[in-house]
């Protein structure tokens, strides 16, 4: 096995093109588990740890560009005000040790339906910046996830960054598991209110082959809010509406029974998470239009 340690992105992309047998590694929190348990023996490890281009984050107008190699720890510490849902989700990943190493780039690289970064990226309208020797492109999060652990990333591409619009209104992330730390989601959900477009966005995780937006539920609640002139006048939203919203979110799931939970439980839990997160965000917006959690 080779250990390839490029110092620059261009060099990494050249290797990525020439060595289809290489597995990229950054935080290693997914890759090393596979190696330690001998679930696969790649021809090479392509260590992205030395690439400054993948580090850090910066603000580009109303969008934050997060380097694919930024550990969760820094998202939690530095971006909670701008990107509440992603920061909340990051706070639930693994443990402090895992958050010091694990990255959003690695979460996207694994493209597990249970990855916690995915629902927040979906409701935030994020785009994933990927690069290869052929050039750079941006993939909307909604088009990135293509199947269980399959994504739109081509074999010769690396993930360079994610571009996440700063939250224009309240956001929430919620996740079901047996304890606070070290939990792979039984199911998860992100919710966002966008006052600029007067729209609701909601996405679920770990309850379908891919993380996904729940468009019918979004249409329904956005319509109900518009009908009540909720954004401007703030007519209260009846419980029945929020309950129906929860049902539509559950209906958008396509869960399976597995060791972590049954399909029925997942649907039921999602409707509860949807109701709760919606109620929290609606309340927060009414409490004087605070934009961040």
């Amino acid at each position: 096995m080779d250990f390839l340690q490029p110092r620059e992105l261009a060099e990494a992309l050249a290797i990525r093109a020439q060595r289809p047998d290489a597995v990229a590694i950054r935080g290693g929190t997914d890759v090393m588990v596979e190696l330690n348990f001998d679930r696969g023996r790649p021809g090479a490890l392509l260590d992205l740890g030395g690439l400054d281009e993948l580090d850090g984050w910066d603000a580009d107008g109303d969008t934050i560009r997060i380097g694919a190699g930024l550990p969760y720890r820094r998202i939690v510490d530095e971006l909670a005000a701008q990107l509440p849902a992603l920061a909340m989700a990051s706070r639930t990943v693994g443990s402090p040790q895992i958050r010091n190493r694990g990255t959003v780039g690695g979460n996207l690289g694994s493209a597990s339906p249970a990855g916690d970064a995915h629902p927040p990226l979906l409701v935030s309208g994020a785009e994933i910046e990927v690069a290869s020797v052929r050039g750079t492109r941006r993939i909307p999060a909604t088009e990135f996830y293509q199947g269980v652990k399959r994504s739109a990333l081509a074999a010769d591409e690396l993930i360079v960054a994610v571009h996440v619009p700063v939250a224009a209104g309240p956001q929430q992330f919620a996740k079901v598991g047996t304890r606070n730390a070290m939990v792979i989601a039984v199911c998860s959900l992100a919710f966002a209110l966008d006052p600029t477009t007067e729209r609701v966005r909601v996405a679920l995780g770990s309850a379908a082959p891919t993380p996904r937006r729940c468009t019918e539920a979004e249409e329904f609640l956005s319509g109900e809010l518009a009908d009540r002139r909720w954004w401007t006048v703030g007519m209260p939203v009846p419980d029945a509406v929020v309950r129906r919203f929860g049902e539509l979110v559950a209906a958008a799931a396509a869960p399976i029974d597995d060791v972590r939970g049954t399909a029925d439980y997942r649907r039921r839990a999602l409707s509860v998470l949807a109701r709760r997160t919606a109620a929290w965000c609606l309340h927060e917006y009414r409490q004087g239009g605070r934009t961040c959690a």
Partner: protein
């Protein structure tokens, strides 16, 4: 491959390291530092916790080559000669060690916590140690040890 890194303040050069092995394996089997323990090899138990460039990580999830040129500090690097670090001493005083397998990882995690937050409340301690499992103590004495270490550090400083 050859691996060069700083371990507990001294440069180490190790030969014949296999590219797919973990930093934990290198420390235990090649560098003569068996303090960090190997229990799960999947990031779940925290008994392999070491500082990598100042941040606590699971050594079992760091590929050996990723530590090249970096600074590693293990539980063996916390004591000053024969004098135990205040966190180590507190674990002894509080009786927070039973079989001792989880202890090195917990000590590194608690050490890091007190460096960042010298007077953590209980919720903060629990969160900081949430990546470390202990199957003997029931955790109460571990919490006592961290409280004790925080108090003794405050005493030394005042």
């Amino acid at each position: 491959m050859r691996l060069t890194m700083t371990v507990n303040g001294a440069e180490q050069v190790l030969d014949d390291v296999w590219e797919g092995e973990s930093l934990l394996y290198v420390l235990r089997e090649r560098a003569g530092l068996p303090g960090s323990k190997n229990a799960c090899e999947q990031g779940e138990c925290g008994s392999c916790t070491v500082y990598l460039d100042g941040a606590p990580v699971c050594a079992c999830l760091v590929a050996a080559g990723q530590a090249a040129g970096r600074d590693v500090r293990t539980v063996e690097g916390l004591a000053d000669g024969d004098e135990l670090d205040v966190v180590q001493q507190a674990f002894l005083s509080a009786g927070a060690v039973q079989c001792g397998f989880c202890t090195p990882g917990l000590i590194v995690a608690a050490h890091d916590l007190l460096e960042r937050d010298p007077a953590p409340d209980d919720a903060t301690v629990r969160e900081a140690l949430s990546g470390n499992l202990c199957r003997c103590t029931g955790y109460e004495k571990i919490l006592d040890a961290v409280r004790l270490a925080a108090a003794r550090r405050a005493e030394v400083r005042s």
